[in-house]
């Protein structure tokens, strides 16, 4: 079930956005996509400086209209995750600025948040200037009725019928304790949220089940990221661009 659920993940780190140090685009499916950019370590405002570590600032922008409360809460979640995955003590008194742009409209579920978290991780890896202790992969899960199977949110149709769901972010890195799934390093649950829509409820057993489903799916996301980065580095060496006809007039 999990292997088919995430087959339409699409990652692109070749954005090459100008003016920032790293950028990446991540989408679970064409209707759930986010773009993130990272700049850092850069100069921090005096008020925002921290004497022993870097300050992280996250700005989340929706596809349409101005950022509101939902964006602010996603921004706070992403900031906590970035602070846990980067070694901030190596860059005191600097700023790491993360800007996330949602490329699709938000849904009642948490899929967009998961895509944004993954896009941020990829942008940080793409930037390469901030040391990281691991890679954070997030997935959103949901279930239809209380007591039914928890599964990874697959498409738009799911969002409408889900009555409960959440988002789990896992930090994949060697130093952590946790079961190893497949070829990914061990992972640790670094941020999670789970809720039931009005009229429904959930119990502890469901939360534990949901976390396990999400853990397996996150290992697949990690593998997708690794494959993409490996492909990028290999292709980068053997690339031959198309012919360019140039006329210089001075």
């Amino acid at each position: 079930m999990s292997s088919t659920a995430l087959r339409s993940i699409s990652i692109s780190c070749e954005e090459g956005l100008d003016g920032v140090d790293g950028s990446a685009r991540f989408s679970f499916r064409p209707s759930c996509s986010a773009l993130a950019s990272v700049s850092g370590p850069i100069t921090a405002r005096l008020a925002a400086e921290h004497p022993a570590r870097a300050t992280v600032e996250v700005h989340v922008r929706p596809l349409s209209s101005v950022p509101g409360t939902a964006e602010k809460s996603r921004g706070m979640a992403i900031r906590e995750i970035v602070e846990r995955s980067c070694l901030l003590a190596q860059h005191p008194r600097t700023l790491i600025q993360v800007v996330v742009q949602a490329l699709t409209n938000p849904t009642p579920g948490y899929a967009l948040l998961a895509a944004e978290i993954n896009a941020c991780t990829l942008a940080l890896i793409n930037a390469g200037s901030i040391a990281m202790r691991g890679v954070v992969c997030a997935v959103s899960v949901g279930r239809v009725k209380k007591g039914s199977v928890v599964s990874v949110e697959v498409d738009m149709a799911d969002d409408a019928v889900l009555e409960g769901g959440g988002c789990f972010a896992f930090l994949f890195g060697f130093a952590l304790s946790g079961p190893i799934k497949g070829s990914a390093p061990p992972c640790e649950d670094v941020w999670s949220t789970y809720s039931a829509r009005p009229g429904s409820s959930f119990d502890q057993a469901e939360l534990v089940r949901a976390r396990e489903v999400a853990r397996e799916a996150a290992a697949e996301v990690w593998q997708c990221m690794k494959n993409n980065i490996r492909r990028q580095k290999m292709v980068g060496e053997a690339q031959s661009p198309e012919e360019v006809v140039v006329k210089m007039e001075i």
């Binding site: 090459g16 140090d21 790293g22 700049s39 850092g40 370590p41 850069i42 100069t43 921090a44 070694l87 190596q90 860059h91 005191p92 008194r93 600097t94 700023l95 890896i125 930037a127 390469g128 200037s129 040391a131 990281m132 202790r133 691991g134 890679v135 930090l171 994949f172 890195g173 060697f174 130093a175 390093p185 990690w222 990221m225 690794k226 980065i229 490996r230 580095k233 290999m234 980068g236 060496e237 690339q239 031959s240 661009p241 012919e243 360019v244 006809v245 140039v246 006329k247 210089m248 007039e249 001075i250």
Partner: protein, 235 residues
């Protein structure tokens, strides 16, 4: 032979005299005994490399933002005076400071005539994460200028950090190839800035275009394609 690592992945680096380069971190362990085999993880993504006898390991990755490290040559722009010295922008998070006497043969009466906006080729003499970086314009051992100092005329362009490392490698093809076509003077800073100077403007522009094309960040053109590219330019 090449293996790509992601941050957090364990690296099989073990040696009696282990030296870890950029991108690797040894996790601290609780006892002395464990310290000998403390695990090493990668902290950035890139290609994992090691020396032939496996004592030196490092991760070769690319980035655009410079983080100062000691003994690296950088190109900076003077942005202001601060007391006896200068404030220099080298592209890092904090501006660097350059003492007014940190030049070859400089005395209180005989200081170089630098102005705000001048370009410098300097060496990072102090780069600690808690302090502002400091620069010097002479070689560490000989105290001679050795190419450091003010850069006059010319043109500065930005490239990725991996590109500046490639340009500093004597075995890389680009600068000798360009030098064989026209007279060229270049200074490569490890902070992603390259200063080039040649007699004609169109040569300077051609050099800038070639460096941008060969940059791994911007396509990573190889030698045959650069030659084709140069033949199409009107120089």
């Amino acid at each position: 032979m090449e293996s790509i690592v992601l941050p957090g992945e364990q690296v099989p680096a073990q040696h009696v005299n282990l030296k870890l380069g950029p991108g690797l971190l040894q996790l601290s362990s609780e006892t002395q005994q464990q310290a000998k085999s403390a695990p090493v993880i990668a902290t950035r993504s890139g290609v994992l490399n090691h020396s032939v006898n496996k004592s030196k390991w490092w991760v070769e990755g690319n980035s655009r933002r410079y983080v100062p490290a000691p003994q690296e040559s950088v190109i900076g722009v003077i942005t202001g005076r601060s007391g006896e010295g200068w404030r220099v922008d080298i592209g890092s998070a904090h501006p660097a400071s350059l003492d007014g006497l940190a030049f070859e043969g400089a005395t209180k009466r005989n200081k170089p005539s630098l102005k705000v906006g001048s370009l410098l080729y300097a060496r990072v003499s102090l780069a600690h994460k808690d302090m502002e970086p400091e620069l010097e314009c002479f070689d560490a051992q000989t105290h001679k200028a050795d190419g450091f100092g003010e850069l006059k005329d010319g043109f500065v362009l930005q490239c990725s950090l991996q590109m500046s490392r490639l340009l500093l490698d004597p075995k890389h093809f680009l600068l000798p190839l360009l030098g064989s076509r026209f007279a060229l003077e270049a200074a490569v800073g490890m902070n992603g800035k390259v200063w080039v100077s040649s007699k004609e403007t169109k040569h300077t522009i051609a050099i800038a275009r070639c460096i941008e094309a060969v940059d791994p960040d911007g396509g990573g053109m190889d030698e045959t394609h650069v030659k084709k590219f140069l033949s199409k330019l009107d120089i």
